[in-house]
């Protein structure tokens, strides 16, 4: 009897607080999601409707498709092209960063010399340098180098991928370095004894072992490159042949000042791919973000 009453008491004492917490969380969550709802609601309106009221429900959801097609068929900003360029730039940069950073980090860990230590320290120290110090000298330098070798670095995909390798490799090397340090050396030694060359040892033995940390490096760099604005703006230009989505969005907002129906639809289109990717790879993305920040 006594036991029953304490149980009942316990239930009574925790239940209301849980309910309050549950309610509080729902309110907070709705507040967090309101901006997305605003985007979707107003992407389904005409400009006039938004001016009339920015918070009403759209009168006709079909307007959403009209707005989307208006954006994809827009004469001033090539949205589909920007999508394609953003995808190519992000994917190629990620491949290059993962491959070269892991190779470099492996040598820096396994080759114990003063040079390795110094090089690693330089990479780590460089992470403090803000982009603002580099951006204008970089553009000038890329122009000078390009003119000297008769290659186009500014305004091209290879040029910006090369820049992303430079900016992305210090953090990536740092993350790979920490991971490789904990891989037992015996594996590589036995491969060498079996007659595996050094290059083969890396690609056949070490690289497959890096898989979990590669996911982290991909996610950290991927979110950054996909959303990056200043570097593409400076390297590709605001109305160059090659465009990225953030540049297309600002170009669009600049050309259609205060036409919120189109601007919001364009932001919706810009957000969709990354949110869809997140829904599928959520577990990896969360894990990658946590590991990347704690290191």
């Amino acid at each position: 009897m006594a036991r029953n009453s304490t149980l009942a008491q316990k239930r009574r004492s925790t239940h209301p607080s849980q309910a309050v917490l549950g309610f509080f969380v729902i309110v907070l969550f709705v507040l967090f999601m309101i901006p997305f709802a605003m985007v979707v609601l107003n992407s389904a309106k005409t400009s006039k409707e938004i001016i009339y009221s920015a918070i009403s429900m759209p009168s006709r959801w079909g307007q959403l498709l009209t707005n989307i097609s208006l954006i994809f068929n827009n004469p001033t900003v090539d949205y589909l092209g920007a999508f394609w360029d953003s995808t190519v730039i992000t994917v190629v940069s990620l491949i290059v960063i993962v491959l070269f950073s892991s190779m470099c980090a492996w040598v820096l860990v396994r080759n114990k010399s003063a040079w390795s230590t110094i090089l690693f320290m330089v990479f780590v120290a460089a992470m403090v340098i803000p982009f603002q110090v580099l951006m204008y000298p970089l553009v000038r330098w890329m122009r000078v180098v390009g003119e000297f070798f008769h290659i186009r670095l500014l305004g091209t995909v290879p040029g910006i991928v090369f820049a992303y390798l430079g900016f992305g490799c210090p953090l990536s090397i740092f993350i790979f370095h920490g991971f490789i340090k904990n891989i037992p050396l015996e594996l590589e030694e036995s491969a060498t004894i079996d007659g595996c060359s050094k290059g083969k040892t890396f690609f056949l033995i070490v690289f497959p072992l890096l898989q979990p940390i590669i996911v982290t490096v991909l996610i950290l760099n991927g979110i950054w490159i996909w959303n990056d604005y200043l570097l593409p703006l400076l390297v590709l230009g605001s109305n160059g042949v090659v465009q990225t989505i953030p540049i297309a969005v600002t170009a669009f907002a600049g050309a259609y000042l205060k036409q919120w129906d189109l601007i919001l639809t364009s932001t919706m289109i810009a957000m969709l791919p990354i949110i869809i990717l997140y829904l599928f790879a959520q577990r990896y993305i969360i894990k990658g973000m946590v590991e990347g920040s704690i290191k």
């Binding site: 969550f29 950073s101 040598v107 803000p130 290059g199 890396f202 604005y229 200043l230 600002t250 920040s293």
Partner: protein, 295 residues
Amino acid sequence: MRRNRAVNILFTFPCVFAFTMIILIPFFYGLFYSMTDWNGVSNDIHFVGFGNFRYLFSSPDFLYSFLITIAYTAINIVFVNVVSFMLSLIVTSKIRFKNFYRAGFFIPYLIGGIVLGYIWQFIFNNALVAIGDSLSIQSLQVSFLSRPGTVIWIMSAVNTWQYAGYIMLIYVASIQSIPASLMEAAAVDGANYITRVLHILIPMMANAFTISLFLTLTTSFKQFDMNLTLTNGGPATRFLGTPVKASQLLAMNIFSTATANRMAEAQAKAVVLFIALVVVSLIQVSINKKKEVEM
């Protein structure tokens, strides 16, 4: 052995080369340009010593940007960390759908500063004003983005929306690494929830707090994208008797100085930003060192 050396060089070359071309050389050029009269147009560049720096600290627009960047950073540190700590407690509690909430709170981080700046500009300039109009609430009828006194706070609120979910993940990882038996034992001993959080959770999370503190600090100090598309520096206000832009943070001040072709001056401002970040990182490193000793 010689082949090993060749592999070492081959493996490190891509990163070292990209890093040198993209970061090292532009960095030293950047330091040099900050002491010249570079205007971005003429190739005739003269060394002027520390003149640019002397000029900076007597120019009100830079001083203003520097000061509000510090204020903005301080507000962010409090906002972001309080909100994300709260969120982390919620999504590690026993409520239902906590994984769903955790995933949802993180979404804003994925959007990117450019896109979310436009979305929130719409919310503050249109949606909130519409609510104010329809409910005749006078305080909402003037956009929050056009009030010079509070615009920094609004930017911090938006920044909190963006980063809280990310910092939350760091706190969640830290909370999950604390043995559950610790909290349970305290509960058995009669410690209530708040006491347990204050006396067990928070002290055990010291490391996560340091990480989050410096992460918020450096990202706030370098804030640019959202600043550009949310307020574009506006509205106008006065500082030391000169008109300045009320929400123009340091990174944007650098950008607009360079856009006006005052490249050397922009470069000097960037060097000041760099030095500030170096000081912050040195403090962080020394704190981490101290902790290692204590461990």
